[in-house]
Amino acid sequence: MVKRLCGFFALGLALAVCTFFIYGVCGFAYAAEKTVKVGAIFPLSGGVAQTGVLCKAAMEIAQEIVNGKVDDILVPGATTEGFANLGAKLELVFMDSQNVPEKAMSAAEQLITQENVVALLGCYTSATTATASQAAERLGIPFLNESSTSPILTNRGFQWFFRCTPDDDFFTRNFFEFLRDEEAKGKNYGRSIAVLYENTLWGADVAKAVQKYAAEFDYKIIADVPYTARAASLTSEVQQIKSANADIVMLASYVSDAILLQTTFRDLDYSPSIILAHDAGFNDPNFLKTVGSAGNYVLSREVYASTLLNKPSVKKLNELMVAKTGYPLDGNSARALMGVLVLSDALLRTKSTEPDDLRQALLETDIPAEQVIFPWLGVKFDPETHQITTGRGIVVQIQDQNYIPVWPYEIAGADVLYPIPQWKDR
């Protein structure tokens, strides 16, 4: 009996030793896989969830590129495995903002104080970026925004906030430059403008920029119509625009409103001569998928266009995106992907992950144009505002349910179709 008990005891001891050994080895292996945590706040549920989900997928592709060794994609961090200078790999920690500003702020606080992230990325919509970046500013952590375009975000005097997308002010100026260039080619689209925009931070800032450049380029705003985002019906708003009878209609909407607006245009049998939409909802993959051919003829500003696929790196990234999600890259997901790469570029150069060192590395960012997936002049930040100074915009038109670049002319794939035909003639 005693012998038997001793046997059990010996077996138990052997199992315990084995367990400790296995845990030890695993623990060592785990410890060897040191990571640099970067927080990413996106709307993964709620009204703009699908955009957030696609951005997340694109960022995961960027993470794989940074952590692996990729020779056929010419982007920052592709040719090295992780961050050799830090002896670590990149680990993105995602949190859902639900597109609610307060939740974005608490997600930022949680990522910084509990997950110990070294930097933050996000948050797609300007309203959530505004609050999340306040938390980062207060807690002294770099925040790199990839696609929120409200001009006010970089005019707050923040020390820790960087933005690597041109803002609405820049894009709106692009629209007026496009109209000027078209006029020079003999196409006259008229000089009266109606602007219809959702009434959160982003939409209101777009409207301000339109007013500013309309005055500068000698256009007249004859209708200025803000609307409540995610309204059940937009009939009265469209009717106001219709009764103004403007030559040019400018729109700023997120995806659900963009779909509702376009179907309301159709239901009310309203075809403005030309529609200039400010990206966002009109460039979301869901827009065309939902409204189909009703979305044709809309002009939108973009940072990304299908003709960029001529660039081998962009083509490869697009293939990875299609394989992962079934959707091609678009302006939002491409910028989310680029955001990870820009931050990784800074992490590759930083002395340490201390916030001051990382901030300094971001300030010294100088990515050449050939390593950027957009037709930009590279990536550099303004030393004061931390706004990208090398960005460029594109104007695309939806033709046969494809986004075709029409400006700048050196990357244009077609001429502008004008005027938009009446609904009965489509």
């Binding site: 989900v53 059940a232 019906s233 009939t235 009265s236 779909i259 159709r266 869901n286 827009f287 189909g292």
Partner: protein, 287 residues
């Protein structure tokens, strides 16, 4: 004048659909004294069912209406017995949290099953536009509006003219005395949930004819439905339809004549005024 006509006609037809959405909410509220905050999310579910029947089986919304309405009736009865029954005698906060829980559940399930992608039924049988005076309107919206009136009439007839309707009304008047005359209160509550969800299911079918579908689409309509029920009177079917139309017209007119950004301010201000001046709504009773 042409523009005002357009606004009036659009508001009128949008209001009819708000009315149909509100009927079920009003019925449950009136009979059980309980607010179903998940009401419009059940409508979202019906919209998805309609879309799936269209995209997988090619069944047009006009033909899937009875199927979806019957399915939603069963879902309503099931929801009552599985969830609501357990909180019906509880505190108001328990009931409120319970239906809020259903909101989260339904939206999450929809997001999981069908992703956050936007869907729309392309080219259903009823498609294209129609002219009503100087106004242009999608045929889908016109069909939805007219059908809303018919369905409201049918539900009102069932409630007012049939024995089962009388039993429902008796339960609404006094749930404790109703068993004394042989009414099974539990069954009446289940029936109220069944009819409530069947009617909002019908609204979902008609809405899916011309409106986009995504997991949060119900939230857009929930507040308007609550306002319509409060204005029309709890439990009143004609009240829900009239108030729904009023909400649609006020929304459209104030958006056009005052300022679109303030249109919901006008709607909700009116709601506050009515609640203060006539707490039982246009058609409700003091009891």
């Amino acid at each position: 004048m042409e523009h005002i006509e357009q606004v009036l006609v659009s508001g009128l037809f949008a209001g009819m659909v708000y009315g149909l959405i509100s009927i079920g909410l009003s019925l449950i509220w009136g009979i059980m004294d309980m607010v179903n905050f998940a009401h419009s999310d059940f409508m979202m579910l019906a919209m998805y069912f309609t879309y799936l029947l269209f995209s997988k089986l090619g069944l047009d919304p006009l033909f899937s209406l009875p199927l979806v309405a019957a399915g939603m009736f069963c879902l309503g009865v099931l929801t009552y017995f599985l969830v609501i029954r357990h909180v019906i005698g509880g505190e108001l906060v328990q009931q409120t949290l319970c239906t809020f829980g259903l909101v989260v559940l339904l939206q999450s399930v929809a997001q999981y099953l069908w992703t956050g992608n936007y869907q729309m039924i392309n080219e259903p049988l009823v498609s294209g536009n129609i002219r009503i005076f100087a106004a242009s309107l999608s045929k889908g919206q016109v069909v939805a509006g007219v059908a809303s009136l018919f369905l409201a009439g049918a539900i009102w007839w069932v409630i007012q003219k049939t024995r089962i309707g009388w039993a429902l009304m008796a339960t609404a008047q006094n749930r404790y005395s109703a068993p004394l005359v042989g009414i099974k209160v539990d069954r009446m509550f289940a029936l109220a949930w069944g009819i409530g969800l069947a009617s909002v299911g019908a609204a979902g079918v008609f809405l899916a004819n011309y409106y986009y579908i995504y997991p949060q689409v119900g939230a857009t309509f929930q507040l308007l439905a609550l306002v319509a029920v409060a204005l029309g009177g709890f439990g009143s079917i004609p009240g829900a339809i009239v108030a729904g139309i009023a909400v649609g017209l006020i929304e459209a007119l104030s958006g056009y004549l005052i300022e679109p950004a303030y249109k919901y301010l006008v709607v909700f201000s009116l709601y506050i005024v009515v609640v203060l001046v006539r707490p039982h709504g246009f058609f409700g009773t003091h009891s």
